[in-house]
């Protein structure tokens, strides 16, 4: 048999997960000329784009413009999308091995890390990602309930998810109405009684992960005052020395912005957003009905490790913050896929530069690859996935040249489609998705919003004229 990768016998690649890493990998595979590749992309949701749709905040529409680049990839004649098809439910890895020469996993980091403190599971304590998925209309999270009748909320963490959550909590209904926030979330947030929101950072202002534009945006909210304690954004000796050595101007600017917030008198806006630093939660306290009533914090000081990194260590000073709702955003982790080797230490697929490794021999598993957060862990911005995917694709093409690929029994488009049709007759194609996209934006136009999302799989299929199950 001749080597696949020609017009007569294209290299067949399955991509599992339709987020940025999956699209960037598809793009890299389809735009090179050495090997003719056919890409079939699968997602367990009927809708593509991964966290660009379900993670990026609704009031950050500009960031979502990246989907235009993804649609360009999807328009390639050798690209197909099978939405609503889940690995482990409709298809097994074995099925993919029988139909493709190479399989790429780009499933992201789907769970959050726990804080590991007492009271974490009290009612009213949630992973921030659930709130994010809920307000973004992810079908799996539309039935989540968050008690927005509470007046005080704590958000643990200072990464971009934490910042998104506090910003959405502080926005007015008028501000939210201009976004594509899910209808159910808009309704709930309209009735929100939240008055005080606390963003809690473990380390100091110079170590906070949020970016300068993100923090500036918090100072420009229509009806929320940002409140910062001057003593918490004063640069400590350790951070000052590190900053002087690195000459990192963006971080210096970040500290300046926060210090300017500390000097700003409150303008009497309806909500107060407290940005707190150098505190770690040690316990969530509950009331007699098992509901969150408060968060106990310990004050931290900073020290430099031998590698120069600045870390927090607890002091003996504690404080209690009465809050009725807590969102934790202290990191994310990949979820193991059925039948795919996993690296428990880092919460990623066991891989070397994107090649999946056999845990026993630490040698590559023929034909299997990873890209994006499930390969390197949850770091970077959307674009970081481009060089990441390019690295994986380079390995894939090298393996094609070496002949180290799978030998599927049915390496053709029609057979793959037949298989999907048989296992998941209600799958959604890219043409279907583009129809849904048009319907969503049309619904939005009538209301002066970017789109009104379908937040339920049944609703999507109904809109496409599919029979009910």
């Amino acid at each position: 048999m001749s080597r696949p990768g020609t017009a007569e016998q294209p290299l067949r690649v399955a991509i599992v997960g339709a987020g940025p890493a999956g699209y960037y990998a598809a793009e890299a595979l389809l735009k090179q000329d050495d090997v003719v590749v056919e890409v079939d992309m699968f997602d367990r949701l009927p809708t593509p784009y991964g966290l660009v749709r379900a993670g990026v905040a609704p009031d950050h529409q500009k960031i979502k413009n990246v989907t235009a680049a993804f649609d360009k990839v999807a328009a390639h004649p050798r690209f197909r999308f099978f939405g609503g098809v889940e690995l482990g439910r409709h298809l097994a890895v074995e099925d993919l091995r029988a139909h493709y020469h190479q399989i790429l996993y780009s499933t992201g980091a789907q769970t959050d890390r726990r804080m590991g403190i007492p009271g974490e599971d009290l009612q009213g304590s949630h992973p921030a990602t659930e709130f994010v998925a809920w307000y973004n209309g992810h079908p799996d999270y539309r039935d989540c309930r968050f008690d927005l009748s509470q007046e005080r909320v704590a958000v643990v963490g200072v990464g971009n998810v934490a910042v998104d959550v506090v910003r959405i909590l502080c926005r007015t209904p008028e501000e939210l109405e201009k976004t594509d926030i899910a209808e159910h979330a808009l309704e709930a947030l309209r009735r929100s009684r939240v008055r005080e929101v606390y963003l809690l950072g473990r380390r100091g202002p110079a170590q906070a992960a949020f970016t300068n534009p993100e923090i500036k945006e918090l100072g420009e909210l229509a009806d929320a005052d940002v409140i910062v304690r001057p003593e918490e954004v004063e640069l400590d000796e350790v951070s000052r020395a590190a900053l002087e050595k690195s000459g990192d101007r963006a971080t210096m600017k970040k500290v300046e912005i926060l210090q300017s917030f500390a000097r700003r008198p409150p303008a009497g806006r309806r909500r107060k957003l407290y940005l707190r630093f150098l505190v770690s939660p040690v316990e969530l306290t509950g009331d007699d009905r098992g509901r969150v009533a408060g968060i106990r914090l310990v004050r931290n000081t900073l020290y430099a490790t031998e590698s120069g990194a600045i870390q927090a260590k607890p002091t003996n000073e504690f404080e209690e913050l009465p809050v009725g709702l807590v969102f934790r955003s202290v990191g994310y982790r990949g979820v193991a896929l059925p039948g795919v080797p996993f690296n428990e230490s880092w919460g990623v697929i066991l891989n070397e530069r994107g090649r999946v490794l056999d845990p026993a021999t630490r040698t590559p598993v023929v034909g299997e690859y990873a890209a994006g957060w499930i390969k390197r862990g949850p770091t970077g911005v959307i674009g970081t996935n481009k060089p990441d995917a390019a690295e994986t694709v380079a390995c894939m093409l090298e393996d094609v040249r070496k002949g180290a690929i799978l030998s599927p029994a049915h390496p053709d488009r029609a057979a793959a489609e037949r298989l999907v049709r048989e296992r998941q007759p209600r799958y959604v194609s890219y043409e279907d998705w583009l129809k849904l996209d048009e319907l969503e934006t049309a619904r939005g136009r009538r209301l002066g919003r970017p789109r009104v999302k379908f937040c339920c799989v049944e609703e999507m299929l109904e809109a496409l004229g599919r029979p009910r199950e």
């Binding site: 413009n65 690195s246 590698s307 990194a309 870390q311 880092w346 070397e352 862990g377 911005v381 996935n385």
Partner: protein
């Protein structure tokens, strides 16, 4: 970006050698695994040292019979150790400043990996490329 994201795609466990192993053994390990340095582990949790190809070449240049001597005679004993959550900007500054090419990584008293200055710079480069790409897309839209 932190060290953990870099170790995530390295796949292999960290390769170590004992201080009393002959340098010949270190040479073999460097060759087999196609790497530039080994972490030297004695009885303690913390590495006893680090031995790089450069350390060995330097010793060989002075005395060709060095291969049977123990690794401890050529290793660098002053080792700076990093942690998975250390951010790459800090680490690259520290490595440049101290002229270190390899940084063993420890997590809660356990050796979990080693990163080279090359790994760190590549990850930083990819990170900046990604940021630039995202910004361009937001400002200019998808271009042909």
């Amino acid at each position: 970006m932190n060290i953990a994201s870099l170790l995530s795609t390295k796949g292999v466990d960290v390769i170590t050698v004992t201080p009393d192993a002959p340098i010949r053994e270190a040479v073999r390990l460097l060759d087999t695994h196609n790497i530039g340095a080994l972490v030297v582990m004695g009885g303690a949790e913390r590495p006893a040292g680090i031995v790089s190809e450069r350390d060995i070449v330097r010793a060989l240049a002075r005395d060709e019979s060095v291969l049977d001597r123990p690794v401890s005679t050529v290793m660098t004993k002053e080792v700076i150790v990093g942690a998975p959550q250390d951010d790459l900007v800090t680490v690259s500054n520290t490595m440049t400043e101290h002229r270190i090419r390899h940084l063993p990584v420890m997590d809660r008293g356990r050796l979990v990996g080693i990163v080279s200055i090359g790994d760190v710079l590549k990850a930083q480069r990819d990170h900046y490329r990604g940021e630039v790409d995202t910004l361009q897309l937001q400002i200019l839209g998808p271009t042909a």
